[in-house]
């Protein structure tokens, strides 16, 4: 009864709403975050259903060869490096906002995955990692036999 009352009050859990609250908090503290790639922690979005999960991250200007993705148990690790742009000889910067350097992130997934079937693609600067749920971890329907 309590659960039902809560659901009626708050509606379905919406991760975007939480993100929005966090974003406004960050803006309040630091006067606006950077949009682009910043070294250190890499923001990720995680999508899931009962068959598996999809993890996405924005990695503009990162080459496939500079990315290292590993899965151990339920932990997905994304590591990489973004090269600096060079204006060449005689060139000079007016503005330099794009950060270069190493970044990394570990995500603990809601379930174990088939690590040999994990697929990753990098398209238009967006990394998408698709992780099928481990067979042993999937919910199994138990048939009830008649007595």
């Amino acid at each position: 009864m309590v659960t039902r009352a809560l659901e009626g009050f708050a509606g379905a859990w919406d991760p975007w709403r939480e993100l929005e609250a966090l974003e406004s908090e960050v803006s309040r503290l630091f006067g606006g975050g950077r949009r682009g790639l910043s070294p250190g922690d890499l923001p990720v979005n995680v999508w899931a259903d009962e068959d598996g999960a999809t993890v996405t991250a924005e990695l503009p200007g990162v080459e496939t060869k500079d990315l290292d993705i590993q899965v151990v148990g339920r932990r997905l690790t994304i590591r990489g490096e973004r090269a600096t742009t060079e204006p060449g000889e005689g060139g000079r910067y007016h503005r330099r906002e794009r950060e270069a350097g190493r970044f990394g992130r570990a995500v603990v997934l809601p379930f174990a995955v088939e690590s040999d079937q994990v697929a990753a693609s990098l398209k238009d600067g967006v990394l998408t990692v698709t992780l099928p749920r481990a067979r042993a971890d999937r919910p199994r329907k138990i048939a009830i036999e008649a007595a």
Binding site: W16, G32, R35, A57, E58, Y93, D124, G125, V126
Partner: protein
């Protein structure tokens, strides 16, 4: 020569951005600007944006770059963790040098827009030949 920026800090939503047809957010992309002898080069992070999603407009000395990526979310899957929200990008720059607009080059690779704006002849360093009398 200075390339002045008239938009807010990167990461914030661009205020006064034109009304969008899609319910997409509009971000100010993190941008590098450098100058070489004959060109101004603008490099902007626009993850999710493909070549066909970019618009570059130069009106007088006002340069506007816009990127509107197609909305992408994994089919059928529910968001369980949301740390960033994809969206479009727009930024306006004021250039103090004249640009040869017919020779502007734009390319998009790995979600990064690179714009080469060749300086118009008078802005370039000219070699003055000294003639014998």
């Amino acid at each position: 020569m200075d390339a002045t920026v008239t938009q807010p800090a990167p990461g914030t939503e661009a205020p006064g951005a034109p009304e969008r047809t899609r319910s997409q957010r509009c971000y100010t992309p993190a941008t590098d600007i450098y100058e070489t002898q004959d060109a101004i080069v603008v490099v902007a992070d626009m993850p999710g944006v493909a070549a066909g999603d970019v618009a570059v407009e130069l009106e007088g000395r006002t340069l506007t770059i816009t990127g509107n990526p197609a909305e992408a979310r994994p089919a059928g899957r529910e968001a369980v963790r949301a740390e960033y929200r994809p969206g479009g990008y727009q930024r306006v720059f004021t250039l103090s040098d004249a640009i040869e607009r017919d020779r502007i080059e734009a390319r998009v690779r790995n979600g990064v827009l690179t714009l080469v704006l060749p300086k118009a002849a008078p802005a370039r360093a000219r070699r003055i030949e000294v003639k014998a009398a």
